[in-house]
Amino acid sequence: MARDYVAFKGTKQGLVLWLDPQAEFSDIVNQLREKLSRTKDFWQGVTVTLKESQRKCRPEEKRQLEEVMGEFGMALREEPEEVVSIGKVQEDQSLMVDRDNALIVRRTLRSGQRVHYPGSVVILGDVNPGAEVVAGGDIIVLGALRGVAHAGAMGEEDAVVVAFRLQPTQLRIAHFISRAPDDADLPEPQGPEIAQVRNNLITIQSYST
């Protein structure tokens, strides 16, 4: 497809769905479905705001959009008055994975807290068990990573996860998944470690510059 009729953008209000004002609505729907199916795991449970400043949608069209997104476990909402989210995202930034653009989280993520960002994520604190970080790019934790981390969530297999203490419940890079060994007596890591995909396996080694 030559042109992008549909785009997801990260804004202060979270993810926003932008629609080409000139395109045929059927093309929009087709492209939306195609885009979502390429990276379907990423979208599960995500809520997207419909941006209508350039293209106003009829209720019938909105229903169709909602239907497509529903297939991928997503929710669509109208532009809200206010959104509370810990993962604040920079204005007007394309969702295309942009690993040089990082979200800095200056706190510890506790159980039940979740950060979701299309670029890379840097946590200045710990990621506790029960917390979750999902990033399109790399994940760097300046502390202990004990929760779930998913780097390269939109398919980037060369994304990495680095932590001062890498003890995740589960580690995902692109579509690769690994989990902590059931054997709890394993020695604790001494110093920072890096996780990356090698030969179709997530491997962990000590990180030294």
Binding site: T108, L109, R110, S111, G112, Q113, D126, N128, P129, G130, A144, R146
Partner: protein, 265 residues
Amino acid sequence: MAGRVLVVTSGKGGVGKTTTTANIGAGLALLGRKVCLIDADIGLRNLDVVLGLENRIVYDLTDVVEGNCRVRQALIKDKRTDNLYLLPAAQTKEKEAVAPEQMKALCDELREDFEYVIVDCPAGIERGFKNAIAGADEAIIVTTPEVAAVRDADRIIGLLEASELYEPRLIINRIRPQMVRKGDMMGIEDIIEILAIKLLGVVPDDETIIVSTNKGEPVVMDKRSRAGQAYNNIVRRIEGLDVPFMSLEEEGLLTRLKRALLGHS
């Protein structure tokens, strides 16, 4: 007079919130403070039982909020301590009978008359929790040395931060030193490392608690009980005193003898 409003919370059930509330309340009252305990666990009230005051309940929290009675009519004076009062929860209503704003107004009204208002929070993170924390300016988190309890405590700390209740303090309940030493139980350091909040006290697992809870007598009044001693220390730390943490090791004859001879612990 504007008293302090404390909420005792945990996320997980059965870790000892109610026992802790009762003992902190009784302990503060023994120090001469005027204390009001609020049972926010509407529908599953327990605090009245632990204090042995169940048979004195006429009005409850919901009656006060709904305007069926004045606060003073619902307050029950403790049978042992002069300065301790209880505002019981309704047993036949549900959490939704009270709104967070109403709880906040109630706490603010009570803090005019009491030096401490201590709210016993129900388990869970739903309406009951939101009610309990609505009027509080300090939070005490109770956990036991179990992975699930610590996990829930962590979640609660996050939720408290979101509600702008910062710097909660931690009570680790039911620790068993022998098990920790053998590596069969999480130690204090392990818990602090994950939760990263200030420790208010450690209460050893103690059979006298079960006896006292069933009898409706807070263990803090029992001078011989180690758990009672731990609660006493917690109470004094809440008062702002710098109390060293007591050794959790069981004192053998030899250590006691040594201490007596050498004059230190």
